[in-house]
Symmetry: C2
Subunit: 227 residues, 2 copies
């Protein structure tokens, strides 16, 4: 499903070059459950942005479902992002002027679902993260962890073939965190692929493969735990 | 240093009332180190905002250093907030158009320090969180955990008598998290008071008192670990 060869990303700050990823290579097969770990600043979010087609590498090759992403046009990229990939951002990225319901509904509007079908799927996703009573709160009227859970509901509502979650439990107590991991486990059991960034061991233990980054390189890539 | 009696906070959403805190009472003595825990949405950030004089309660009494905060005028509140209290927000709240150095420098400008003295203290604080090489990056040019560490440096730069930190390690790997807890430990050893919200056990274990919230009430308030 994913093939990365020598992926690099160097940010440009004026004339200063900031190498965030230095030649990362790996493959992901369908239905894998991967935990990405590593110190703060090691390049995890940068890698997730490349995998999710939200940014382009400065070097290297990236294939999604066998196709070279660098050769795709904007329409193709957008349809992949909206259809196949669910993304939970480290910074949530919710629309501030829309309420929780409207934020979760957004991917379904892009996917062209009918209003009635959208309503049912949004209510189901918000119920799954335990926030039915907060459906009409805006992001600023929610707690930090509640915003995070709405961002998770939005990523799951399209039942994505590939879920990319960047620190999905950073603001959640462990009981709520376990509930979210239960949702991810169901998505995985249904045959989908999950890649999540975490720094919490109890989250990483749910996965079946660990990729550890350090200073923009892969330090370790091995099978773990869950089968 | 702090005396809270029957503190309550009810948010108003149109005609809907959302009770976030329902009558919370506690005292904090100088040089205590308190961990506040509880499920997502239980009222932790709301409580921190009241303690830090960033919001006013809808009921109850709150005294800081023996004085009733509700009776203070805006100037008094601002001088307490800028002088005595350091606040690490759950959402970092960095100025997007200022770089890391300028963000950390802000409390020292309010405190009226000379430029040379400010420079020294800012460099020291940024060095303490390990981000000297990122001093001139803006928040959008930093990783999630790096933004969090700049927000921590900003809260510590004024050597506050009271440090309020809301989930300060949510985006940090455990090694970096331990480094930050080392900084808090030093501040505590120097006689200052620390109140931090966390959902991570290894962070809570650094404190000497645990206040656990559930549904806007104090479920538990007892001494723990660190002496
Ligand atoms: N501005 C607001 N308007 C309406 N409701 C709000 C507002 N801010 C918070 N709330 C609600 O008040 C409750 C407490 O929120 P608070 O942010 O204090 O929780 P928390 O314990 O910090 O949670 P978390 O661990 O998820 O950060 C939540 O249920 C939230 O939905
Ligand atoms: N837009 C940018 N411009 C310049 N440098 C950047 C930019 N975005 C990130 N960086 C730098 O690239 C490096 C990798 O950042 P990245 O966000 O991928 O790290 P991370 O592993 O996700 O860290 P964290 O765990 O703290 O979220 C960091 O050192 C950061 O300062
Ligand atoms: Mg990151
Ligand atoms: Mg909070």
């Amino acid at each position: 499903i994913i093939e990365a060869k020598g992926l690099s990303k160097t940010y440009l700050l004026g004339r200063l070059e900031v190498p965030a990823l230095r030649g990362v290579s790996f493959r992901v097969r369908p239905n894998e459950y991967i935990a990405v770990m590593g110190p703060s600043g090691s390049g995890k979010s940068t890698l997730m942005n490349l995998i999710g087609c939200l940014d382009t590498p400065t070097a290297g090759e990236y294939r999604l479902d066998g196709e070279l992403v660098s050769a795709m046009d904007d329409d193709q990229l957008a349809s992949i992002r909206n259809g196949k990939i669910g993304f939970v951002f480290q910074t949530f990225n919710l629309l501030p002027r829309a309420d929780a319901f409207q934020n979760v509904e957004l991917p379904l509007i892009y996917a062209g679902l009918s209003k009635a079908k959208r309503r049912r799927r949004v209510e189901e996703a918000i119920e799954a993260v335990g926030l039915t009573e907060r459906s009409h709160h805006r992001p600023s009227e929610l707690s930090g962890g509640q915003r995070q859970r709405i961002a998770i509901a939005r990523a799951l509502v399209n039942r994505p073939a590939l879920l990319l979650a960047d620190e999905p439990t950073g603001n959640l107590d462990s009981v709520t965190g376990e509930e979210i991991m239960g949702l991810f486990g169901k998505l995985h059991d249904a045959g989908n692929t999950i890649i999540l960034v975490t720094h919490e061991e109890y989250i990483a233990r749910k996965s079946n493969r660990l990729i550890r980054l350090r200073d923009g390189r892969i330090e370790e890539d091995r099978p773990v735990g869950r089968v």
